[in-house]
């Protein structure tokens, strides 16, 4: 069963990963760039978490501030991606979605810097 699973996922043109990448190239470039930003915020948060696991949580509020910054940025980028996706029927224009994204980042990172200490 394990071999069958690996064959189905990794091998051949009909493998899951191949289909995923071929379909992924078909989505708009704008969304792929936003996915890069999502990956960036994700890995930044992971690196911070690994550091805390290695050396401890002191100062805890600073760790929370940095980690929440990554999480919040990830959420805001995901929201922007949802609004810019042509497949979703949102009534706001792309420019309005981007302006909302910028404003939310302003407010959010003001709180992040306030909490950092």
């Amino acid at each position: 069963f394990f071999l069958f699973f690996c064959q189905a996922v990794f091998m051949g043109e009909q493998g899951t990963i191949s289909v995923f990448f071929s379909e992924y190239n078909n989505i708009p470039k704008k969304l792929r760039i936003i996915d890069l930003f999502l990956l960036w915020s994700f890995f930044t948060g992971v690196i911070q978490f690994v550091y805390v696991c290695l050396v401890g949580t002191f100062p805890f509020n600073s760790f929370l501030s940095g980690f929440i910054s990554c999480v919040g940025t990830f959420v805001l980028f995901a929201s922007l991606r949802l609004q810019l996706n042509p497949g979703n029927s949102f009534r706001v224009s792309e420019e309005r979605a981007f302006a909302d994204f910028i404003f939310c980042n302003f407010v959010f990172h003001l709180a992040v810097f306030n909490f950092m200490g």
């Binding site: 760039i33 930003f37 050396v55 910028i102 810097f113």
Partner: protein
């Protein structure tokens, strides 16, 4: 006197009520029965009035309100008049009284020692010219000695005056809650008219009777005052070393135990605060490595964005607007960082509001330009 006053008020009230209600007077009726009959006629007339026979409310009001109010008002008016007259008399007498401008001189502290034959002889005499006065060496008081402080109070006039407050207070230096007080004796000066001599005699027994066998150094304060004096006399001197009578085995008597007040307000035992141990910090190199590791995804992001074919073709046509917009974003970030470093929050908000409005406007114009280019 209070009972007498209450009886007086009751009698006045009854007589005044009798004056207001003639039907209650004994002379109105020949006998008690006729008086009762008179009262009964009054009651019947009252009931008839209440039923509306001769006008409603006048008889009822006269009985329930006016009569009783007037009868109770009279003793109150009498007491108020008496109090007002007493107050006026006291004020008048007080305004006539003048305060005495006293002068104190000849303040001396004498130490007497007991010699064989129970005879007291003067050992030393010191003058107290100023306050506070510090004796060097200190004055010693023990079971065979006696301390006398005398002072002359002039300007008291020819009347027989004894200052109301004449106290010598000895306060223990280490246990201030323990204080012994000696009242001074007063007699007229032998040669000077209008002058009193106040003498304080302090012995070990007088101190022991008040605060127990508490040895050690005492601070002394003398006060001579009266409500008729314009100013009081107060002087401080010290120290007086007191040694109580030794026990039979030659040891000094023990100090009295601490009072509840001394225990409550005594200094608490010293203790060392246990501070929280500093958290173990990682090596600086580890922190720097991870700081660099956090920046790496940003660089990787920029490379991947460029490699993914980000559209920069229209950057030239909107370059000024894009530059202004991104400069405004950088200004917002700079204000936030400055707030993090130094600026107070309430000063940050107006600055951030202004810069944010600028960023919003520049972004609006940029997006507008992009839409028009589409």
């Amino acid at each position: 006197s209070l009972e007498l006053a209450m009886n007086l008020m009751g009698n006045v009230s009854r007589h005044f009520e009798t004056f207001l209600r003639p039907e209650l007077r004994p002379e109105c009726c020949e006998a008690r029965g006729q008086r009762a009959e008179g009262l009964g006629r009054f009651r019947r007339a009252e009931r008839k009035t209440q039923a509306g026979g001769e006008g409603f409310g006048l008889g009822w009001f006269e009985e329930r309100i006016t009569m009783r109010a007037l009868s109770s008002l009279a003793p109150l008016l009498l007491c108020a008049t008496l109090l007002a007259s007493v107050g006026a008399i006291s004020l008048a007498s007080a305004s006539e009284e003048e305060f005495l401008a006293i002068t104190v001189s000849g303040v001396e502290l004498s130490v007497f020692e007991e010699h064989p034959g129970n005879e007291l002889k003067l050992k030393s005499k010191e003058k107290i010219d100023k306050s506070p006065t510090v004796f060097d060496p200190a004055v010693h008081l023990h079971e065979t000695s006696e301390i006398r402080l005398s002072l002359e109070v002039g300007g008291v006039g020819s009347g027989d005056l004894k200052p109301q407050q004449r106290l010598l207070t000895l306060t223990h230096a280490e246990r201030p809650a323990k204080a012994a007080r000696v009242v001074g004796d007063v007699k007229g000066h032998e040669t000077k008219a209008g002058t009193l001599v106040v003498t304080f005699t302090v012995t070990v027994d007088s101190i022991e009777g008040q605060i127990g066998t508490l040895n050690g150094e005492y601070d002394a304060q003398v006060v001579v005052a009266d409500s008729r004096f314009a100013t009081q006399y107060e002087a401080t001197f010290g120290r007086v070393v007191v040694s109580h009578t030794q026990n039979d085995d030659g040891s000094l008597p023990s100090d009295p135990p601490l009072d509840a007040a001394e225990i409550e307000y005594a200094p608490r035992p010293e203790f060392e605060h246990i501070m929280r141990e500093d958290v173990k910090r990682p090596p600086a190199m580890v922190s720097m490595v991870f700081a660099g590791a956090v920046i790496c995804p940003l660089g990787l992001l920029l490379l991947l964005v460029a490699a993914s074919g980000a559209n920069l073709k229209r950057l030239g046509s909107v370059f000024p607007q894009a530059l202004v917009f991104h400069a405004a974003l950088a200004a917002v970030l700079a204000v936030v960082v400055y707030y993090w470093v130094e600026l107070p929050f309430l000063k940050t908000l107006p600055v951030l509001s202004g810069v944010g409005v600028g960023a919003a406007l520049s972004g609006y114009f940029l997006l507008n330009k992009l839409i028009k280019l589409d």
